[in-house]
Amino acid sequence: MSPVKGVARGAAVTFLSLVVLIPFAALITNAFNGGVSGFWSAVTAKESLHAIGLTFFCAALGSALNSAAGLATAWVLVRDRFWGQGLLNALIDLPFALPTVVAGVTLYALYGPLSPIHLSLTGTWIGITLAIMFVTLPFTVRAVQPVLETMTFTAQAAAATLGASSLRIFRTITLPAIAPSLLAGTGLAFARAIGEYGSVVFISNNLPYKTELASSYIFSLTSSNQNTAASAVSLALLVVAMVLLSFFSALSYHFSRGNR
């Protein structure tokens, strides 16, 4: 029994009701303002489906690529020593520290129509995915890094003595051990990518039916005072994000139990 239990519960309940429960109750009520059929027609509107589909496609692609790149980056940061390593380590956190709108403006300036390197990715899914990769890189790196740091690598050395190839050692010993944290990091990156707004809003160009993402679509609905439709699409996006997060966390739990 912890002596500070009462304080903790008080703080948590106050916070949750004011900032989470009441606003989300308002969202759910608003989403069903037009009944279940109103909710459904708002979510399955052609523009909405297209925006949600593109959002999930780019988020999945970006976070999958970053899951591999993040693992490699964490590996190099932990297992390697070279000049400029500190700088590399510092660069990883930059997307966390940079306001997303600043990231968006920068990427637009760099890969937009006035690109100094003559590479215009505005209004393409490649540009959107690139922005997502920029924003989500720290998630996987920072999730895997601490696990790699505490790893002793004795099992790997034993396997190498017994003649196992590097690839086999990685696949059968290292990867299962880091799988839970890698999955957790990828899950967070994916979730963040679904909700990303500031960094992709400029480079995506927001063309309806082409490069409009779910966040932008919701924003355009609220701007034209269609709060009910905006709430419906938001709720649908939220539910899918929650299901995916639970899936990742269940998968991560499954792997961490397998390790014991």
């Binding site: 912890s2 002596p3 500070v4 239990k5 304080v7 903790a8 703080a11 948590a12 916070f15 949750l16 900032v19 989470v20 009441i22 606003p23 989300f24 308002a26 969202l27 608003n30 490699a72 980056t73 590996w75 190099v76 297992r79 390697d80 070279f82 590399l88 660069l91 990883i92 997307p95 966390f96 520290a97 306001p99 709108v101 600043v102 990231a103 920068t106 990427l107 300036a109 760099l110 690139l130 920029f134 890189l137 690598f153 790997q156 190498a160 967070l188 979730a191 963040r192 679904i194 909700g195 500031g198 966040s215 919701i218 924003f219 609220t222 701007s223 005072n225 709430s231 994000a241 997060l245």
Partner: protein, 215 residues
């Protein structure tokens, strides 16, 4: 175990360099390309000053509240596990996964002028949305998972020994919270004030976009 192969190192350096280094270099190049005079002028702009002061004011209130609510919620999850806290543990990541646009919309539906409590607050002379309190609430909302995700493992690590000792010596719960629990977390890098400060001020930015442009 041998060190990682050189090709991997080069691949990683290229990837991070192109993805993050290049945009960063570009920001610096653009900032200083017209000399320090232009930079000084931009920093002295009145609107810019107002935005920076607001950002600092938001962080000033949001950071202490974040400590209180973030540590409080984490404490509840760690120290009295139950079915409610198991759900809470899942829910706590949600703000990270939610688009800032949805956060803005949700807060507007509850506290905005046409929202549930908008009229009530307006009759008391309070204006929550499109104003300072709204930005603070939004800021706390998004930073909560970042605080708890780092505080929860630390709380598990430090255990309850010191808290129980203080309770045995007759300290009240609030006193234990402020002098023992918070003190044990102090100085740990992720919970240090600067990182909380950064998180709070960085995350408010998307909301301004929403708060200022929506009807």
């Amino acid at each position: 175990m041998k060190r990682s192969p050189l090709t991997l190192r080069i691949a990683v350096l290229t990837y991070v360099g192109l993805l993050i280094g290049l945009p960063l270099f570009f920001v610096f190049q653009q900032t200083f390309s017209r000399g320090f005079g232009a930079l000084w002028q931009a920093l002295n702009d009145q609107q810019m000053d107002a935005a920076m002061i607001l950002s600092a004011k938001v962080a000033l209130v949001a950071v202490p509240l974040n400590v209180l609510f973030g540590v409080g919620t984490s404490l509840w999850i760690v120290r009295s596990p139950s079915r409610i806290t198991a759900v809470l543990d899942r829910l706590i990541d949600i703000p990270l996964a939610i688009s800032p646009i949805i956060v803005g919309l949700v807060l507007m539906l509850a506290y905005g002028q046409n929202g549930w409590f908008g009229q009530t607050f307006a009759s008391w002379g309070w204006n929550i949305m499109f104003s300072y309190p709204g930005i603070v609430i939004a800021s706390i909302f998004v930073s909560l998972p970042l605080v708890s995700r780092q505080v929860i493992p630390l709380l598990r690590e430090v255990g309850t020994h010191a808290e129980e000792t203080a309770a045995t010596l007759g300290a009240g719960p609030w006193r234990i919270f402020f002098t023992i629990t918070l003190d044990q977390l102090r100085g740990r890098p992720p919970t240090g004030l600067p990182s909380l400060w950064l998180v709070s001020s960085v995350n408010t930015v998307p909301f301004w976009l929403f708060l200022e442009t929506s009807p």
